[in-house]
Structure formats: C-alpha cells, structure tokens
C-alpha cells in the first residue's frame, strides 16, 4: 500500500513536470511574448524597445533556464505575478479556486445521492415502468448541454417566475443567486452518472450470485442492498472521480453564463489576457487535481473490489 502510494506520487510529480514544461514552452514562444510586451508597456513600442523589454524581463535567456527559475519558485509556493490583475498569482488563484470549490461542493452534494438513487432504482428491475421513466429522464437531462439548459433555467426561473437570480456573485452567495448555476450543472451531471449506475446495476442484477441470493430466500430489497449495491458501484465510482477534473474545466461555461467569478472564469480570462503566470498556475492546479482524483479512485477501487490488489 505504501509502496503503491509512493510510486503513484512519483508518477504524479513526473507528469506535473512534463506538462508544466509543455505549457511553459508554449506560452513563452517569441510572438506571444512580443504581444505581451506591447500590452504591458506601450502599444506604440518600436521593435528595439520590445527587444529591450524582453531582455529586461529575462525572456531572452534559454528556455530551460527560464523554466528552471519558474519551477524553483513554484516549488516554494511562488507562482509569479499576474500581469492582468497586477498582483501575485497566489492572491488571485486561491480565492477563485475557493469559489469554484464551493460550487463543486454543492454540485456533488446533490448529484451523487440523486444520481445513484436514480441509477439503482432504474437498474434493479430492468425494463419496468420505473426503469423506463427514470432512464428517459436521465437521457433528457444529459442531452441538453449546460449552455442551453442554463439559459432555459434563467428564462424560466429568473425572468419568468422570478424565484432565482440569473447572476451569481462569487463570495456573496445566497440560495437565491446560487441555485441556478448549481441546478444547471447538477441536472446535466445527474443524467450521466445515473445512466452509468443503471448499466452497471443491470449487469450485476443479471449475474449468477444475485440469483443465488434470491434463491436463498432473501427478500428482494435485501438482495439489492446487501449483494448488488457494492458490486454495482464499482463502475460509477470511477466515473464520479472523473467528474472532478471535468467539473473544474466544465464549469467555465456555467461560470461565464452566470457571471460567477471562479476558477473557470479565471482560466478563460488568463488565456484571453495573455496572463502567462496565471495560465501556468491554472494548468498545474488542473493536473494535480486530475492525478490526485485518479489516485483516490484507484485506492477506492481496491476497497470496493477485493479482486484488485495494490501493485
């Protein structure tokens, strides 16, 4: 177990270095830097002034040296300076990540129990009316992309019924202004996870050991809870863990739509404004999140499925 963790963390670090280097070399190519120089100092700079600006800011040194410097700083927790917000990256990124974190927290709190319940109820008796109704509901919610459903909900609940607000102010959330962005993501996500859970449940319910349990004289609900559930959750568990990184980047649209200034919003504006250090930091955060959720998913897998062992 410890060896497994150790190996995985080494892999995580290596991936981190490779990916950050790739992003780094892409954002620091010459034309991009020139654009940055023009943006930062003076739009009417001459070519030689641009060159000297680049020289002054250290962008003329070899790529590896520059990357080494960035890496050295990043390791000590210093992710550089945001050229757009004109303050250190650390002061920009963590609060935004916090905002998205709150959004994700509510999304997961609602999605997981609802989706699993729908999936299990639908899958435990395949082909019944309950199954069909729930499956149609699930297919419907996943088929509508958030940028459509978001607008739809805004029109219905905000413009028409006036129950909720169409704009969510980060850092000052209330039920009123926060309900719509959460609803938009939850509705989309529920369908997806519910369908996975249903498929997995159907497969498990058809297996021989479920028949064994039933013919032991066990009541149907006990069979579902004691024998089917744990085996049926193995596949959705992986999917749920994959939702974390997806949400982090997937929320971009929803955050933009409801003007909620979180991580997705920051990522888009950083790329937009050519904010090199912020873009890099966002990349690092995303990679760390992807790899740690995968790690958690692998460990969880072992606990759910006794046939898998750490190697």
């Amino acid at each position: 177990m410890l060896l497994f963790l150790f190996k995985r963390i080494i892999v995580l670090l290596l991936t981190l270095i490779c990916l950050s280097f790739t992003v780094f070399s892409l954002v620091t190519i010459e034309p991009n830097l020139k654009k940055l120089a023009l943006n930062q100092a003076n739009m009417r700079m001459e070519e030689d002034e641009v060159q000297s600006w680049l020289e002054k800011n250290g962008y003329k040194r070899p790529l590896l040296v520059q990357y080494g410097e960035w890496l050295g700083n990043a390791v000590t927790g210093d992710f550089g300076y945001s050229t757009h917000f004109r303050k250190p990256v650390n002061e920009v990124i963590w609060p935004k990540l916090g905002h998205t974190g709150i959004l994700m927290f509510w999304v997961f709190l609602l999605t997981i129990p609802i989706a699993l319940t729908i999936g299990i109820l639908a899958g435990m008796r395949e082909g019944t009316k309950t199954d069909r109704t729930l499956s149609i509901f699930a297919i419907f919610t996943t088929s509508v992309p958030p940028y459509v459903s978001g607008i739809l909900y805004t029109i219905i609940f905000s413009s028409w019924l006036g129950i909720f607000k169409g704009v969510a102010k980060a850092g000052n959330i209330t039920f009123e202004n926060f309900a719509l962005p959460v609803l938009t993501i939850v509705a989309y996500d529920i369908g997806y996870i519910a369908r996975m859970t249903r498929a997995s449940m159907v497969e498990v319910m058809g297996s021989q050991y479920i028949k064994t349990a039933r013919l032991k004289g066990m009541p149907f609900m006990s069979v579902v809870l004691k024998h089917a559930l744990r085996n049926a959750l193995i596949a959705p568990f992986t999917v749920i863990m994959l939702q974390f990184p997806w949400l982090l980047t997937g929320v971009v649209i929803v955050e933009k739509l409801f003007n909620y200034k979180g991580f997705g919003f920051l990522l888009v504006s950083a790329a937009d404004q050519n904010d090199i250090d912020v873009t890099l930091a966002c990349g690092v955060v995303a990679v760390v999140l992807v790899l740690t959720t995968q790690l958690i998913s692998d460990i969880g897998y072992v606990f759910l499925n006794p046939r898998i062992r750490f190697t």
Partner: protein, 551 residues
C-alpha cells in the same frame, strides 16, 4: 411404495415470440419421490434447467409460466405469495449451480454468505453463533482449514472448493429437496468425482431428495435412482435407472445412449513404422514469467507422430495441454525445444517462410461460436485460405464446395454467415477451414467439448473419415477420457505441464503405469456402465426419422 414429495402438473412455460419454438417447457407432468435422486437429462435447449428453476418459481424474465401447478407440502408453489416463497427458498428447497465461482458474490467473504442462510431461515441461532455453525458446516463439506476459507473471497479458493461452499449454503437448513443444476460440469474430472461423492454421502446422512440436472450420462449412471429424459421442452421418457440406461424405449433416448462414447479403445497403431514423421516434438518447454516467480506451463514435451495417426492429449485444467497446442502452432513462442514438421524446423522459421509453412499445421478451436468471423460468409473464409496458397478463384471455389460437401454441409452453406449455423455445423465449418490449407498436422483443442452428445458423435465420425481420406496427423486435446479412447492411436496424460504417461491408447487405458493416470481413469463417471450399442444403420434411420418429426 415411495411417497411423492413434489408434483409438477401440466406445466407449460412459453418462450419469447421470436424464439425457434413456442414453449420452453410444454405440458410437463412429473412426480418426485421422497428420498430419491432423480436425474433430469437432456441436450442443450431441452428445457431441463427452465423446468427445474420453475420449482422455485424463478424463471428468466423473458419466459412466462402460462399454466400448471407445482405441488409441494399441500401448496402450489407457483401461487405462493413472495414472503412464503422466500421462506421456502433456501430452507426447504435449495439449489446448487453449474458455475460455482459465479454463484458466489465476489465482494463478500464466502463465510459471511453462508452465515446469511442462518440469518434468513434459522432465527433461533444467535448472530454470534452463526460463525460457529458455518465453520461446522464447512468442515462437514470436507473443506481444509475452514477458518481460512471462511474469511476468503470467492476468487481466492478453487472451483471445487467454491462448489463445496455453495453446497454448504444449500444444505445449511437441511432442505427437503436439493436441486442441482449441472453442479459438476465446470469442474475437472477428479474434482467432479469428489463432489459427486460428497453429494451422495450427505444425502445418505440427511436423506434429502435430490433433483440432479445433467447432460452427462456417465454422471447419471453413477448417481441416479430414476431418470427423466427431456427433449424440446417435453418429457420424452421416464423410468428407473436400469431401464433407461440399458433398455431405453424411445428412439430419442436410444440415440442419446448410443452416442455415449465407450471407455474402450478402438485403434491400434502400427508401432513398427519408420517412415518420415509428420511431426516431431522434442524437449519442448514453455515458462511463463509471473510476478514473484515463474510457471513451468509445459515441461519437456516430446513425441513423434506419423501421417494418419492421432495422439490424444488428456489432462485436467491447468495441466498444460492447451499450452502444448499453442506452442506447437506458435501462437505462443516456446521457451526452448524443437518442433519439426515434415523434417523442417518449424521454430526456426520467420517472416514469409513461417507464413507459408503454417499451412502445414492447422488448428480446430474449442468454441465454434467465437472462432469464426461473424461478418464473413463461409465461402469467403474458405476461398481466402485457398487463394492464399496461390489457387485461382475458380479452382478455389470448386475446392471450397467440395470441402463443404465433405464435412457434410451442402452448397447452400457457401453464401451464408456463421450465425445461420448451429454449434455442430459451425464446428464442421471450422474443420473445413483447417483442412482447406491441406495440413500435415491438425491440432484439435477440445473441439467437441462444447457440443451435445449426439452432435459430438457425428463430428468425431467426420474427423475419423476425413483422416482416412487426407491422412493428416491429429493432435487431439481433450479432458474427456471417453472421447480420447474413441479417437486416439497414442495417448499422453499431462499433469502440471509434464507428460506423465505416454503410450498406445490400449496400454494407457488397460495397463496404466502412472498413479495420476490411474486416478483419472478411476474418476471417469459411469465407468461401470456399458451403454448398449445400436447397429449403425439402425441408428442412422432413427436419426433421420427423428429429424423429420422435429422440423
């Protein structure tokens, strides 16, 4: 006279609309006597499993019980409310299954699964005492180290041990009736013998009634009191064991019994031959590297086989017989050793030479469903392999049609796809495909084990005929000693990767030297039964008239 414990009356179960017949079970009437072992035999699709699962009112979702009743203890099981049905299941009527590994929940410790039966049906046993009861039961099932087994998961114990655990679960409440659905089919022959012994011994103690479903007449001969023969959803014949096995009345039963291969050898090879061998295998090894060690899957395999001869390779699962097949045809590269085919070093070949020499050694696979590409027509498959040998399309087509004729399929098979054929027909196509390459050596890996008895007999006869025409050497891998006895000139017995015995079929069967061979022969089901033979002409006539009545 014996009293009846269970009465099935006018039971009919319908199949879904698009099935090949209307009823899975049609108008079945059956009386089960207290304390007997009743064997229900039939080929695949005969409805034997569906009928018996109806006894617990649990038929697959797509089937419907349309009429009939099942009387047990003065009640109709089919009309019991769910709660009372649950009280019956597992307590008074319980069941064991074909795939013991699949019958156990993979993520719950097996001991806990046995505990559950006590929790459900024996409330008088306190929760804290359940484990003790379970351990007692596991010990009675002759499981070694019950304590360790109790806390194992299904994947950590062997197939035979899994079956013992499932039996423990079924017998936990000492049921009146035990239904066993092919409980030993997935097991090795020695394990099968042990499990049958266990079921028999436990019955002697508890005096349960056993309904035993099987396709294997050997097993029937060993354990049955009474036999019911099913075909196409109907009960065709019913009677005491002696009657059915020795003097079957119905033509269908006569054919089934006739198709049972004898445990007697039929061939005697000419041991003085010195002509060029078709295949010479010397000192062949295959070692698989695994985590923390290595597995010697094939250890020093050596033999010589000449044209027209068949070597039967027998052994249990994991004995290395399939590894032998795979390394011979170089699906897997052997670790060391040599294989000469027609005096050419087959293992030294590579590239184009290897491809052209592969024609000399061909394989017939076990699974007639998985081994044919479902999207190609039979004609395309055969033509392709002939064209690869450089034949022009006209010649290739003529040859393909002839091959189809020879394997007993007509010209109309040429343009059809594998899904249009039954298992036996597909195996014939597989044989035609192998022969289309004009091989010197054919490796047949369990090529009849997925087939029903009557079909198996036809395929074996076909192989025999084709061998006398084409004179190929056949390496025939099988777990079934009876089949090996029918087809082999020489037999080798494999155990743990080694050929522990090698000799003429006659020597191996009648004068076995190695202990393991003796144990295998001893474990063969139905060895004391000498099934009556029909005159081949008569058998063919019965088969023809039956075919008419079925279609």
């Amino acid at each position: 006279m014996s009293t009846s414990i269970l009465k099935i009356k006018d039971l009919s179960i319908t199949l879904p609309k698009n099935a090949d017949r209307q009823f899975a079970v049609e108008d079945v009437n059956l009386e089960v006597h207290k304390g007997e072992i009743l064997c229900v035999v039939g080929e695949s699709g005969s409805g034997k499993s569906v009928m018996t699962s109806a006894i617990l009112n649990e038929v697959p979702g797509s089937l419907n019980i349309t009429s009939g009743s099942i009387e047990f203890d003065n009640q109709d099981i089919l009309k019991l409310p769910q709660k009372e049905l649950n009280e019956l299941r597992g307590a008074r009527i319980s069941m064991i299954y074909q795939e013991p590994m699949a019958a156990l929940n993979p993520s719950i410790r097996v001991g806990k699964q046995v505990d559950e039966v006590f929790a459900l049906h024996r409330p008088e046993i306190k929760a804290t005492d359940r484990k003790t009861e379970t351990l007692k039961l596991l010990e009675q099932m002759k499981l070694p180290t019950p304590e360790r087994i109790y806390s194992s998961y299904a994947h950590q114990v062997s197939g035979g041990q899994c079956q013992r655990i499932v039996i423990a679960m079924a017998l936990a409440c000492n049921p009146d009736i035990l239904i066993a659905d092919e409980p030993t089919t997935a097991l090795d022959v020695t394990t099968q013998a042990e499990i049958l012994r266990l079921i028999y011994d436990l019955k002697e103690i508890y005096n349960n009634t056993i309904i035993f479903i099987t396709h294997d007449f050997g097993v029937v001969a060993d354990i049955a009191d009474r036999i019911v023969v099913m075909c196409q959803g109907k009960i065709i014949e019913e009677g005491q064991k002696e009657e059915i096995l020795m003097r079957p009345k119905e033509p269908y039963t006569q054919l089934l019994v006739d198709a049972m291969p004898l445990l007697e050898t039929t061939r005697t090879p000419d041991q003085s031959r010195t002509d060029e061998p078709s295949v010479e295998v010397d000192n062949l090894h295959k070692i698989y590297k695994t985590r923390g060690g290595q597995v010697h899957a094939l250890n020093d395999a050596s033999f010589v086989l000449r044209n027209g001869e068949t070597l039967g390779v027998v052994g249990e699962s994991g004995s290395g017989k399939s590894t032998l097949a795979k390394t011979l045809i170089r699906l897997e590269e052997p670790t060391s050793g040599s294989v000469n085919i027609r005096q050419e070093n087959f293992l030294a070949l590579s590239g184009a030479d290897l491809i052209s020499s592969r024609q000399k050694i061909q394989m017939i696979f076990q699974d007639p469903f998985g081994s044919l590409n479902p999207s190609q027509t039979v004609g395309f498959m055969l033509m392709r392999s002939l064209e690869l040998q450089g034949k022009d399309p006209v010649e290739a087509k003529a040859r393909s049609l002839k091959l189809l004729q020879q394997v007993g399929l007509g010209d109309q098979a040429f343009n059809r796809k594998p899904r249009n054929f039954s298992g036996g027909q597909r195996q014939r196509i597989g044989i035609a495909r192998a022969l289309s390459m004009g091989p010197d050596v054919v490796v047949a890996d369990e090529c009849v084990s997925a087939l029903d008895l009557s079909v198996q007999k036809q395929v074996l006869l076909l192989l025999n005929d084709l061998q006398s025409t084409y004179k190929m050497a056949i390496i025939f891998i099988t777990h079934d000693l009876r089949v090996a006895a029918q087809v082999s000139d020489y037999i080798t017995v494999m155990e743990k990767g080694k050929m522990v015995e090698f000799g003429t079929a006659d020597d191996v069967f009648n004068r076995p030297k190695h202990d393991y061979t003796k144990r295998l022969l001893d474990a063969a089901p139905g060895k004391d039964w000498h099934p009556p033979r029909l005159d081949p002409k008569e058998a063919a006539e019965i088969a023809k008239s039956l075919e008419k009545s079925f279609s």
